[in-house]
């Protein structure tokens, strides 16, 4: 398997982990075209994740904004409430085939942790989730969901107490027990083969969009928009269309308080090439290569890097990545709630915002598909606080 996308990707990990990565790669090579594996995964997608997820025509949004037609790919209606479950099902099945009995993972917003804890419960695997201390605080609901599902949640207080530190700690833990434990990476990041495996398990999103839009509009999308933290929902919806050069692919990065402040996580817009978390990619870092503290009100996008395939798509110009601030995301969060009755994850709201900007500029016969990567129940307290609303916090 190719370990790089152009110059990006690779396997920059401690020697101790190399064997585990090789083992995963070999297992994946063995199973990825195995018809049993494929049919088991298909059944899990359907029965557990609730796939295919709906492709929803946002009629009111389209009418109000004028211009291109907006469709939402409803990953929020998946079991556990986000696209994360697609990847978890795939990797959990792989881990099971490999004979692993314990899973570790990192989580940002908690969606990946919840999805992993959920499927670990189903597969009767031990599950240990690492989550930044600050994220534990802003996503308390998800923490308890994971615990309920039987997972052990460790709050990581090293570094900035967010997603990057959760990955650090999960990697450290994996180094301790890589002989028995499967590290279930939550996005298209980390060392090879994770970016490829996770992308393969998420690409079902774009594949569904293709036939669903064909059915509804008889065409391929003109523009596809997704938010990018690590980039799994993004690559998931982009991948099937990469060769369709006429399809515009746009990622929404978290610009936090603005890309000209110190409080953002806009990796492509402001980052530079680097090597971190096992991969060569783009990172927010200082001139010596120290990883910068990043900020986004969205825990799932609060990450200083991006998956190597996105770095490659950005570098080659195939996809474009635009920054969206907290304020803009909150605007989109409220807008979608009030207009379509859909409360999006604050992550997904970043993508919605771009659609709101772009749609009016397009002709009526153009179609924008936005990946609605998750639902926003987890975020309502935080958005309320952001909006200065005094709510009863139980």
């Amino acid at each position: 398997m190719k370990s790089k996308f152009g110059e990006y990707g690779g396997q920059y990990v401690p020697e101790t982990l190399m064997e585990a990565l090789i083992e995963i790669e070999q297992a994946y090579l063995k199973y990825k075209d195995d018809s049993d594996f494929i049919s088991e995964l298909k059944e899990l997608y359907e029965e557990v994740a609730n796939r295919p997820s709906r492709l929803y025509f946002a009629k009111r949004m389209t009418e109000e904004l004028g211009g291109g037609k907006i469709y939402l790919k409803r990953e929020d209606l998946n079991h556990t409430g986000s696209h994360k479950i697609n990847n978890v099902l795939g990797q959990m099945l792989l881990a099971k085939k490999m004979g692993k009995t314990k899973i570790i993972c990192e989580t940002g917003a908690g969606q990946h942790g919840v999805a992993t804890a959920t499927i670990a419960a189903m597969f009767k695997m031990d599950c240990h989730v690492f989550m930044g201390k600050e994220d534990v605080e802003r996503q308390g609901l998800n923490v308890f969901r994971m615990e309920l599902l039987g997972a052990k949640v460790t709050a990581v207080d090293s570094g900035t107490g967010t997603l990057k530190d959760a990955v650090n700690e999960a990697l450290r833990q994996w180094t301790r027990e890589c002989d028995t434990t499967y590290y279930l990476m939550g996005s298209v990041v980390g060392p090879h083969p994770f970016p490829t495996i996770v992308r393969d398990f998420q690409k079902v999103i774009g594949e569904e969009v293709r036939w669903q839009l064909q059915e509804k509009e008889g065409k391929t999308p003109d523009v596809i928009i997704a938010c990018v933290g690590g980039g799994s929902n993004g690559i998931g919806i982009f991948y099937d269309f990469i060769e369709n050069k006429e399809v515009e692919l746009i990622g929404a990065e978290a610009a936090g308080q603005g890309v000209d402040t110190n409080y953002h996580a806009a990796t492509i817009t402001k980052g530079s090439n680097g090597i971190f978390h096992g991969m060569k990619s783009k990172f927010l870092q200082d001139s010596y290569g120290k990883i910068m503290p990043v900020y986004s009100m969205s825990a799932g996008l609060d990450y200083p890097g991006i998956g190597p395939e996105h770095a490659y798509l950005a570098e080659s110009g195939r996809a474009k990545y635009l920054p969206v601030t907290d304020a803009e995301a909150v605007e989109a969060f409220e807008y979608l709630s009030k207009t379509e009755g859909i409360i999006p994850a604050i992550e997904s709201a970043h993508a919605i915002f771009l659609a709101m900007k772009i749609a009016p500029e397009l002709d009526n016969d153009k179609v924008i598909v936005v990946n609605l990567s998750g639902r926003g129940d987890k975020d309502v307290y935080q958005v309320a606080r952001y909006m200065g609303v005094d709510i009863n916090e139980q």
């Binding site: 990990v13 020697e15 064997e19 650090n168 990697l171 180094t175 301790r176 971190f276 010596y288 120290k290």
Partner: protein, 262 residues
């Protein structure tokens, strides 16, 4: 062009002695103390010294060295200030100095420029814990050109095939990781070290240095296998953490005690 690491091991071999390799994080608590510490460690018997460059996200490190990194960063330590430290050390000592650092620090600096700096300041080798054999081309050519040794690591999980490849191009010594997991003092090492040593020795004549989790003279004595060197890191960093600017004497005592081993 000789390399001080190779020279040192030749010398020790002739004397039938084991090498003691000690580690500190540069800039913890400040660079002046680091300067004193390196000299004192050599003084008390360290054969080689590893200087860690602090990094924001040291994923191969346990809490001890991780915290040292944070203290060093907080004190304003940068890669360039560490090259200055090396320059300064080289006015006092000709013993082997290695830098321990994460690949991003090299990559972002520019690998070629970084290696050139190593050569001009007097660094003899690099230990890059997140640069496995598969990615070694990031620095290998530059390092070879300037005769800076890239110290490769072997872990208990490394399989025979990769082991052979890794040692093949290695120079100076092999950094043998005693256990699964990150750096940090361990009360017990469960790896079958005798067998681990033998496995590696079959493939190479280079000195084999055992590291990760080593802390006391007693422990070093009890270790199976004919290791040519022991690497002690977290234990020393613990003392630095406890005594800060006043740690030089204490660290000296510790190194002296460890050195009495032979």
């Amino acid at each position: 062009m000789n390399n001080r690491i190779e020279e040192k091991f030749k010398e020790l071999k002739m004397m039938n002695k084991k090498a003691l390799i000690t580690f500190i994080t540069a800039g913890d608590p400040d660079l002046e103390t680091s300067y004193q510490l390196v000299l004192e460690m050599f003084e008390q018997g360290a054969d080689l010294v590893e200087i860690g460059i602090p990094f924001s996200d040291p994923v191969a490190e346990g809490p001890t060295i991780e915290k040292a990194s944070m203290r060093a960063l907080a004190s304003g330590t940068t890669t360039d200030s560490i090259f200055e430290l090396v320059t300064k050390l080289r006015t006092k000592t000709e013993k082997p100095l290695l830098l321990m650092l994460y690949i991003n620090l090299v990559y972002k600096y520019g690998a070629e420029e970084f290696i050139t700096k190593c050569q001009t300041t007097g660094v003899d080798g690099l230990i890059i814990p997140d640069l496995p054999y598969e990615e070694i081309q990031e620095v290998k050519a530059y390092a070879e050109a300037k005769n800076i040794y890239l110290i490769n690591l072997i872990a208990p999980t490394t399989n025979e095939e990769r082991l052979a490849k890794i040692v093949e191009g290695s120079k100076g010594f092999i950094y043998c990781v005693s256990s699964l997991g990150v750096t940090g003092v361990r009360s017990e090492i469960t790896t079958d070290l005798e067998n681990f040593y033998a496995r590696i020795r079959k493939n190479t004549n280079l000195p084999l240095a055992l590291g990760f989790g080593l802390s006391t003279k007693e422990q070093l004595k009890s270790i199976k296998g004919n290791w040519e060197a022991f690497i002690v890191g977290s234990k020393i960093v613990e003392v630095v953490a406890a005594y800060g600017k006043d740690s030089v004497e204490e660290v000296g005592k510790l190194v002296k005690n460890l050195k009495e081993l032979e």
